[in-house]
């Protein structure tokens, strides 16, 4: 177990490798939160430009918009406007599950791109875009709309995609959404989320064509759940079981119609605060829909969240929530009983994005594990503030950690498990440390909800207690 002094010394040691300026800058991104006081991470500097010359794990604004927010809207075509690589290398990598016939009425895993060539950069790509929109619409007539996700060159050469979108949208009678999410904007994918939220507001919610369904008293929307490995489904069934009506999923397995219908719900339930707080705030200001954050990782947090959600409704829903919790308790007990002895006391370090650096802590604790280090790739100050309440032991906090820092931290802390992305996976496995890829659940999932907890527990056990770790000699032995 790390204590505060040790952790502080570790940070200093890591910083010593940098030139003075870089060290001074990075020092603001690293901190230790002490047990009980829960203070410390508020003062952290976040959402700043990464140090030049160091390896960062961040993505770009295009990744935030196309990959995260817009991409999973399954009945719309999302065009990666620009060179082919940005879309092709990220295609289907996030495992946002959906139901539908790909290429007929759902397009989630497909890659549409304008495949920019030199001549498009020199002479402009607007004509090509117009042609592409027509072609895509003719080939896939069941699409409900098209979004144009700009890649870097589009912004650099100053194409007027808004004009093309407006004209084609009028011709097709469908929303054609120009998204100015060029990769160079902002410091990370985070700005891409914001830009995507703003375009949904301007081009979908304000389009005012929503066919006002009969709004029910128990209508809610799930925001910021991307259905990775089926996460949103595992969450949705719990809400429905307790008597709520989930009319929209943003945006995992979501549709255009669901988004259009959201302004009529009673309550917006926000899972990933980082990527969808903007639209939640907008809907609160404009339509008066309250929103609340919840956490569906691990039974403790799930029960707590279900009760907090239910408290916003009448006694029918509150009884429903208790019934849901009671019904799942035997299953939860069985899982905890089976896996906790195998995982008790294991220490975990996380370095992920969005909501996970704080949200999954509860699930680990339900299994008797401790999170000793956590950090956000692209968190903002409000994320770090929210993190404090989830921390229960002395924890190392790192914002936008570089490859070097993370390696050093892990080498010295020697956790029993590291949870981060695919780029980190093999580095740590080669160091002899069990690793879970916590962006897309390492090809597993769902991890949300009670069903997700069963899979989460099994996966962690499978990884940590895998016999292979005994067969290799890590470099420090």
């Amino acid at each position: 177990m790390l204590n505060k002094e040790e952790a502080q010394r570790l940070i200093e040691e890591v910083l010593a490798a940098y030139p003075p300026d870089a060290a001074a800058d990075r020092a603001k991104h690293l901190t230790v939160v002490e047990e009980a006081t829960g203070e410390g991470s508020c003062g952290i500097t976040a959402n700043r430009k990464s140090q030049p010359g160091v390896m960062t794990i961040r993505g770009c604004a295009y990744a935030g918009s196309k990959g995260v927010v817009w991409g999973p809207v399954k009945d719309m075509i999302h065009i990666s406007h620009g060179p082919v690589g940005c879309g092709q290398y990220s295609r289907a990598g996030r495992r946002n599950y959906y139901v539908g016939h790909t290429g007929v009425n759902a397009f989630g895993t497909m890659n549409f791109t304008s495949d920019f060539q030199e001549k498009d950069v020199v002479f402009g790509g607007d004509k090509k875009l117009a042609k592409l929109l027509d072609e895509a619409n003719a080939l896939f007539p069941l699409n409900k709309g098209i979004s144009i996700q700009s890649e870097c060159p589009v912004g650099l050469i100053g194409d007027d995609i808004e004009a093309v979108a407006k004209q084609k949208g009028a011709e097709m009678g469908k929303p054609v959404v120009p998204v100015r999410c060029e990769g160079f904007r902002g410091v990370s994918q985070s700005l891409g989320h914001h830009i995507a939220n703003d375009t949904i507001r301007d081009f979908i919610l304000d389009r005012q064509e929503s066919t006002a369904n009969e709004a029910g008293p128990y209508d809610v929307a799930i925001l910021g759940d991307y259905n990775i490995g089926g996460d949103a489904w595992a969450s949705r069934i719990l809400l429905e079981e307790m008597g709520l009506r989930v009319v929209a999923q943003w945006s995992g397995d979501g549709t255009l119609a669901e988004m259009e219908r959201t302004p009529q719900v009673r309550l917006n339930l926000l899972h990933c605060y980082r990527s969808m707080n903007y639209i939640s705030r907008h809907m609160e200001a404009k339509y008066g829909i309250p929103w609340m954050e919840y956490n569906f990782f691990g039974p403790t947090r799930i029960a707590d969240s279900l009760r907090r959600i239910a408290a916003r409704f009448d006694s029918r829903i509150q009884e429903g929530a208790e019934a849901v919790i009671a019904r799942h308790q035997p299953m939860v007990d069985a899982i905890t009983h089976h896996f906790r002895p195998r995982l008790e006391g294991k220490r975990v370090m996380l370095y992920v994005g969005g909501l996970r650096p704080r949200h999954v802590i509860g699930a680990y604790e339900d299994l008797g594990m401790q999170v000793v280090g956590t950090g956000y790739e692209f968190g903002h100050n409000d994320d770090y503030e929210r993190t404090n309440e989830d921390l229960s032991n002395t924890t190392l906090i790192y914002d936008d950690a570089s490859g070097y820092e993370l390696e050093k931290f892990v080498e010295r802390v020697r956790p029993d498990l590291v949870g981060s992305g695919i780029k980190e996976k093999y580095v740590f496995q080669k160091m002899g440390i069990p690793f879970r890829q916590m962006h897309s659940w390492d090809y597993s999932g769902p991890y949300h909800g009670y069903d997700g907890y069963a899979i989460f527990a099994r996966d962690m056990d499978m990884t940590i207690n895998n016999p292979c770790w005994k067969m290799m000699t890590p470099p420090w032995r």
């Binding site: 508020c42 976040a46 959402n47 705030r281 609160e284 200001a285 903002h380 100050n381 409000d382």
Partner: protein, 72 residues
């Protein structure tokens, strides 16, 4: 003059959100907290003070407004 958004959190506390700065802090105290006059200095939990031109009535939340920072 940064834009701020005021809302209540689950506990019923007044929250001030400054989008430009990603700052979300509980408002500890509002200078004028009356039915016919609301606003003035907002004392945030993080120690910052913002000034909001007093409104003629207690506002309906959420409220988007302009406020400026008071340097003490």
């Amino acid at each position: 003059m940064p834009e701020i958004m005021l809302r209540r959190n689950e506990k019923g506390e007044l929250l001030c959100y400054v989008p430009k700065k990603d700052l979300e802090a509980v408002v500890r105290e509002v200078e004028f907290d009356q039915e016919e006059r609301w606003g003035g200095r907002l004392y945030l939990a993080n120690g910052e003070i913002l000034h909001l031109n007093p409104l003629p009535a207690r506002p309906r939340l959420p409220l988007t407004a302009r406020a400026h920072k008071v340097t003490t």
